[in-house]
Amino acid sequence: MDLTTTVAIDEENSVARVALAGALNTDTAPAFELRLQDVVAAGHELTVLDMKDLDYISSAGLRVIFKAAKQTKSSGRKLAAANRKPHIDKVFEILKALPDMAVFANDQELDDYLDTMQRKAKGE
């Protein structure tokens, strides 16, 4: 299984949406790592990993996410995951991975969060 990564940048809110489709495993992780590094390096306030179409994740994939989470946190920014499928969720749970990472169960939750951020930014 391959992995397709789509990156959408919302410059206005400084949000990067990284959509993953397919499998994030040992084979696909190295390429994804490079891609994610670029996104994180761009310095957006929030990087959201959209896992709506992610069917599979292994420890190799989690390692990449771990690494990105460390980097964003150290520079005071955020990394969030959205739309985790149940079995993906299970892997995260088994490994008790990223307990303090913001998790959005669906797009609605994510949009609400972004709105809130926008309002905060505008000082409302």
Binding site: S58, K67, A69, K96, L98
Partner: protein
């Protein structure tokens, strides 16, 4: 031979004897030498004394004869003819007197020339000479004037007599006095006796000690009358130089001799080796110094002879003794030498070597006799040993044959695999000794499978014989439709009959209804079987009766066990659970159950052999203490599916593995959720191998996936370096704060969380990692 006891004894004894004898002879020589020296000295003195006294006697005789003639002349008047006759008689009758004269004072003669007849020996005849007729006046001769002047008889200095005897001589002159008319005592005549020096020399020559010795005789004035060579005679001693004796010494000795003091002087011999001695004394008669020169060596020659004699005697004695010692020791130690040679032969295994003859009762003889008897015993012992060895190999051969016969009584001759009607049955017996008392058997009749596993008390031959009896009886009953409990009771009665040795057998006797899976079984004190069901192992509860063969008419309860599909029943003897290791730890039922569970996915044969192996690993180097029997019954067998695939390490490994795994599992209709989780597990496993096994790209990784009712298993095999991820692998701490959390080390967590059982073993250079997971909804039918 240099180190032989014989040589040492001979050398040491000879040396010791030589020292002792040499010491003794030396002491003897010293004592004897002293004695000899004293004796020689005394002998010399006696010899000298005798010679001197002979000389004195000889001179005394002359003096006496002359003196007598003088006294006769004093008393009587003789005619000239009478005097002449008397003189002649004196010369003729006294050999020692060379010549004699009566010289009458011319005052008393008619003739103015006087009267002096003289008779002397001339060439053996007595000649006459008239001294008065000779040219010179005899009254002026010293032999006439000196005695008269001295008024006493005396010896003259030696002189050469001219006109008379023409020889060197000395004269004893006696003055004769008469009383004249006036009563005055006047010299009437001088009577003389001449002694030729040659005669003196002859007498003095008797004085000698040793061959080269010679005597010395001096006149009072110091003229030499006798010495070694005639040429020196008549010369004064001071004119002669003796080598080794200076003149002062001569003077001193000479004057001492004149005074009558004997003296002795040692000097180096002038003409030969060694020391010479001069002894000088004085003749009492004449007052002449007389002496003797001799070589000490010659005097001591008897001593030298004695020394030589002693030395030769000692050497000969020593030689004789050495020979005697050699002969004696050789004779005494010959048996020892022969014994030593015989021992070397015996050491080479030549037991028939001849031993020396032992005579007498000494230690050597006793040793030889002991040796002889030892040799006989040894021969006998070796003979016995050969017989025993032969017997033993024969016995071993018989036992091996017995083992073959015993094994032929069991299906498959000790190890059997039977697969029919979907049932797998595997059984194996391994006796602790060549033959044993364990047994198993099975027999299918239509719809039923008859199974028996038994263990006769004890082991070895007695157990084997009883086992043969038991298995014959069991096999007789196997074909009948007798239920196990009744069959057990019948067996018991049959075995009890005439069982005087009180052997007994524990027995599991079961009859399986193949189609329904119902097993009815009876147990005669046999270890309860274990049941593997759905990856869990339990010991089957059973009611049991007493062991067979002890008492008749026993009742054996019937047990019923319903086998489900996928069940595996293990019936075994106590040789397994009661196997001890060197720490006295029992293998135990729990351990057996665990191992049975661990190899539950393997075919019965592989699982059985693994179980045997596990017991062997437990006992280690200890010899098997009891017979071991294991029977595995798989019901039914066709529930398992298995797929193998090898993968080359390298890029895209995960994808290739997952593609194969998904396809396989989907084909087996495994639930998608389980497939996805197994996918994940497989990825973590192969990633681990790729990362840590140290293998190159292109090397192979073997994967086996099996599915049974309720269980999914994946086994990975690689030839990498030994690596047990569950123990050696790095595991990150879970749930840590993102700041302290580690990146990586997550895979092992996933594997352990997503599977139920994990095991790792190293086998024949392979890392073998096995994970199992209970599943539902697989392609296999659910348990009935």
């Amino acid at each position: 031979m240099k180190n032989s006891i014989t040589t040492r004894l001979i050398v040491l004894l000879t040396l010791a004897l030589a020292v002792i004898m040499g010491g003794g002879m030396l002491l003897d020589y010293r004592l004897s030498r002293q004695e000899l020296l004293t004796r020689l000295n005394e002998e010399a003195l006696v010899e000298i004394g005798v010679a001197v006294s002979d000389m004195e006697n000889w001179l005394n005789g002359i003096e006496a004869t002359t003196g007598l003639l003088g006294r006769i002349l004093e008393q009587q008047e003789y005619s000239h003819e009478g005097l002449q006759q008397m003189l002649r008689d004196v010369v003729v009758n006294n050999d020692e007197i060379f010549g004699a004269a009566i010289a009458v004072n011319s005052k008393f003669t008619e003739d103015a020339r006087g009267f002096a007849p003289y008779y002397y020996v001339d060439n053996g005849t007595v000649s006459y000479a008239d001294l008065a007729g000779a040219g010179a006046d005899y009254q002026k001769q010293p032999w006439y004037s000196t005695p008269i002047a001295a008024g006493k008889a005396l010896w003259t200095e030696p002189y050469f007599d001219t006109g008379g005897g023409e020889v060197n001589m000395t004269t004893f002159a006696v003055p004769v006095y008469r009383i004249d008319d006036k009563g005055n005592r006047v010299a009437y005549a001088v009577v003389t006796a001449d002694v030729a020096l040659t005669d003196l020399q002859r007498v003095a020559g008797q004085l000698h000690l040793g061959e080269s010795s010679y005597s010395l005789l001096f006149s009072k004035e110091g003229l030499m009358m006798n010495t070694r060579s005639q040429s020196r005679v008549m010369k004064h001693y001071s004119e002669i130089s003796y080598r080794g004796v200076d003149l002062d010494r001569w003077h001193q000795m000479f004057s001492q001799a004149l005074r009558g003091e004997p003296s002795t002087y040692d000097f180096p011999c002038p003409e030969s080796e060694g020391h010479c001695t001069i002894r000088l004394g004085r003749l009492k008669t004449t007052g002449w110094p007389i002496g003797l020169v001799y070589n000490q060596q010659e005097v001591l020659s008897p001593l030298h002879q004695y020394q030589v004699k002693t030395f030769i005697l000692g050497a000969v004695t020593l030689l004789l003794m050495a020979i005697t010692v050699y002969l004696l020791i050789s004779r005494l130690t010959r048996p020892l030498q022969q014994l030593s040679i015989a021992t070397e032969h015996m050491a080479r295994g030549e037991m028939d070597v001849a031993l020396p003859q032992a005579r007498g009762k000494d230690e050597v003889s006793r040793l030889v006799r002991s040796f002889n008897s030892m040799n006989k015993d040894l021969k006998a012992y070796i003979g016995d040993l050969e017989t025993a060895t032969a017997n033993r190999s024969r016995l071993e051969g018989e036992l091996t044959a017995a083992r073959d016969i015993q094994m032929s009584m069991l299906p498959g001759s000790g190890e059997a695999l039977w697969q029919q009607n979907g049932i797998d049955l595997w059984a194996k017996v391994r006796p602790a000794k060549t033959v044993g008392g364990d047994l198993y058997t099975y027999f299918q009749s239509d719809t039923h499978l008859f199974v028996a596993v038994g263990d006769v008390s004890d082991k070895g031959v007695p157990a084997a014989l009883f086992m043969a009896r038991a298995i014959s009886l069991i096999q007789q009953l196997a074909g009948t439709a007798t239920p196990p409990d009744k069959a057990m009771a019948e067996l018991n009665n049959a075995l009890e009959r005439d069982n005087h040795s009180c052997m007994f057998v524990t027995l599991f006797l079961g009859v399986l209804n193949i189609s329904s899976g119902q097993m009815r079984f009876a147990s005669a004190g046999h270890t309860a079987p274990s049941l593997l069901r759905a990856s869990e192992v339990v010991t089957v509860a059973q009611e049991t009766g007493p062991a067979l063969g002890l008492a008749e008419d026993q009742v054996y309860p019937i047990n019923v066990l319903q086998l489900l599909k996928g069940d595996r029943l293990a019936v075994y003897t106590d040789g397994i659970d009661e196997a001890f290791n060197d720490k006295k730890e029992m293998y135990g039922v729990d351990r057996f159950n665990r191992e049975l569970q661990a190899c539950g996915e393997l075919p019965v044969k592989d699982a059985g052999l693994l179980l045997f192996n596990s017991v062997d690993m437990h006992t280690g180097d200890l010899p098997q203490s009891d017979d071991i029997t294991l029977l595995l019954l798989q019901y039914p067998s066709t529930t398992k599916q298995i797929e193998n695939q090898s993968f080359q390490l390298g890029t895209g490994l995960t994808g290739r593995v997952q593609a194969w795994l998904e396809a396989t599992l989907e084909q087996w209709k495994v639930a998608p959720e389980s497939i996805m989780e197994f996918d994940l597990v497989a990825e973590e496993i192969v990633t681990n191998v790729q990362k840590y096994a140290g293998l190159e790209a292109g090397e192979l990784l073997g994967l086996t996936v099996t599915v049974t009712a309720g269980s999914l298993a994946l086994e990975a095999r690689d030839q990498g370096k030994p690596f047990n991820p569950f123990e050696d692998g790095h595991r990150s701490e879970l749930g840590a704060d993102i700041d302290s959390a580690e990146i990586g080390g997550l895979g092992v967590h996933l594997i352990t969380q997503l599977t139920d059982r994990q095991s790792y073993r190293r086998e024949n250079g392979y890392n073998i990692l096995r994970v199992e997971k209970g599943i539902t909804g697989s392609g296999t039918e659910p348990p009935a």
